[in-house]
């Protein structure tokens, strides 16, 4: 059966269920798929994590090296988030430099980490104005079964929590753990009319790409938002989604902490 007919059938099914107040996989509207976090999967990286969110899979590796600070923050380390949506992960991804989707993904993940001040950048200074730690967060998509963004955000912060600063390799004293202050959670909702579905699967995304991502820190502050897709959002729905995102983030954060501390 050709792909586009399949998409149409899925779409009808998702919408029909939705009219009955249900999701096709039986989840509640504000429920994430099952999450699995494994840290330290890449021994050669300074930190790493493999995250499965349902069937969506992302691996993130952290590499660090000394480098020059930005002129306006001479005493702070630098975080660079980069995403490669390699063609292995989806029939629709193509090799080549990052397109607008991967740029947006990397930048939204970056903002969640940056604005929650999850990494204590002031403790990444080696010599003021000259040398600071640069933290490369490389997001490598493996399987895109929907909502790569939230999976990437989870994998990024998990990998950072797993990171040891390779000071000894650069003759800068003993290795130490990357100082982490927060665990921001990115919550993406699919907007369908006046309803929304948190953590949409690929099948659910067959109805469209209208999403809203809300990143929440551990004190229930919103640290980043991104409306993505060509749809109009009402104020009322926005408030509902924010409310639900705060709740979903809290639960997911607990689950991630539990899994990481066990491993």
């Amino acid at each position: 059966m050709p792909e586009d007919i399949l998409v149409d059938i899925k779409k009808d099914y998702v919408l029909a269920k939705l009219r009955e107040g249900e999701r096709i996989d039986g989840r509640k509207f504000d429920e994430f798929r099952k999450v699995e976090v494994k840290v330290g999967v890449i021994e050669k990286a300074e930190g790493s994590a493999l995250v499965k969110l349902g069937n969506t899979q992302v691996v993130v590796g952290i590499k660090m090296q000394p480098g020059e600070p930005f002129p306006d923050t001479p005493d702070k380390g630098i975080i660079i988030v980069n995403a490669e949506l390699v063609p292995l992960a989806s029939p629709t991804f193509e090799p080549g430099p990052p397109d607008e989707t991967s740029v947006e993904l990397a930048r939204v993940v970056d903002r969640g980490i940056r604005e929650s001040e999850a990494v204590d950048l002031s403790r990444l200074c080696i010599e003021v104005g000259k040398n600071v730690w640069m933290v490369f967060v490389d997001i490598h998509a493996l399987d895109d079964d929907g909502n790569l963004l939230d999976a990437s955000a989870i994998a990024s912060i998990s990998a950072l929590m797993n990171t040891k600063i390779p000071a000894s390799r650069f003759g800068l004293g003993e290795d130490y753990e990357l100082p982490i202050n927060d665990l921001p959670i990115s919550v993406t909702s699919l907007v369908v009319g006046d309803k929304f579905l948190i953590d949409p699967s690929r099948d659910e995304l067959s109805v469209g790409n209208s999403t809203l991502t809300v990143s929440v820190d551990r004190n229930d502050n919103i640290v980043a938002m991104q409306k993505s897709g060509d749809y109009l959002l009402s104020e009322a729905l926005l408030e509902e989604i924010i409310e639900a995102s705060i709740g979903a983030a809290k639960k997911l954060r607990e689950e991630i902490i539990k899994q990481i501390s066990k491993s």
Binding site: D72, P98, E100, V103, E104, A106, R107, R111, R114, E115, S116, L212, D217, D220, N221, I222, V223, A224, M225, Q226, K227, S228, G229, D230, Y231, L232, L233, S234, E235, L238, E239, I242, E243, I246
Partner: protein, 242 residues
Amino acid sequence: MSRPDKFIVDGKRLDGRLPDQLRPIKIEVDVLKRADGSCYIEMGKNKVVAAVYGPREAFPRHIQDPSKVVVRYRYNMAPFSVEERKRPGPDRRSVEISKVSKEAFETIIMKELFPRSVVDIFVEVLQADAGSRTACINAASVALVDAGIPVKGMLTSVAVAKVDGTLVLDPMKEEDNFGDADMPFAFLIRGGKIESIALLQMDGRMTKAEIKDAIALAKKGAMEIYNLQREAIMKQFVEEEE
């Protein structure tokens, strides 16, 4: 530029504005001959030009959509628009701004009217200040009307920031760089009323309640800008009539 000690003194901001006050805005319509529609806007120290081409045949062909028009949006900064010369060509920031702006305009253009065609919206930032993306959307929105593209309403954009725990409208550079949060909006305004949100981004730290207040403040600012946009378009029509 370094972080100021206080952003608000005696109820006034660093540039003397009240928290709910916009920067000065200047709008000129139909400033370019080649483009089908165009607009020049100054918003604070932002100086931007928008041009609209189309609907025209989409090329290369494989981007054509048989059911509706394709919208493209290109946000571009002139090399001399910022303190340190910017290398020509798109960077990641421009790519993201172009994407979310394009999606905002897709919500207001009557896309089904022009299958297989493209509407190109090009915006050049000649001088950049805080909020260049909002200035660009406001200019593009007017240019779109100037080009005669059928739209559902006007797109009007403004940002709200949080500084010293206070929400401020249309932030200046210092508030943007060193404030606690920044939240750009674009609203669809139809029949003189704000209907819904077409663009929304946010970074910083805000509570749920603050976000609600920010929306209200943004709406107030947007209505003021909308009136200026309308006025500029009207003036243009009158001039053309004469």
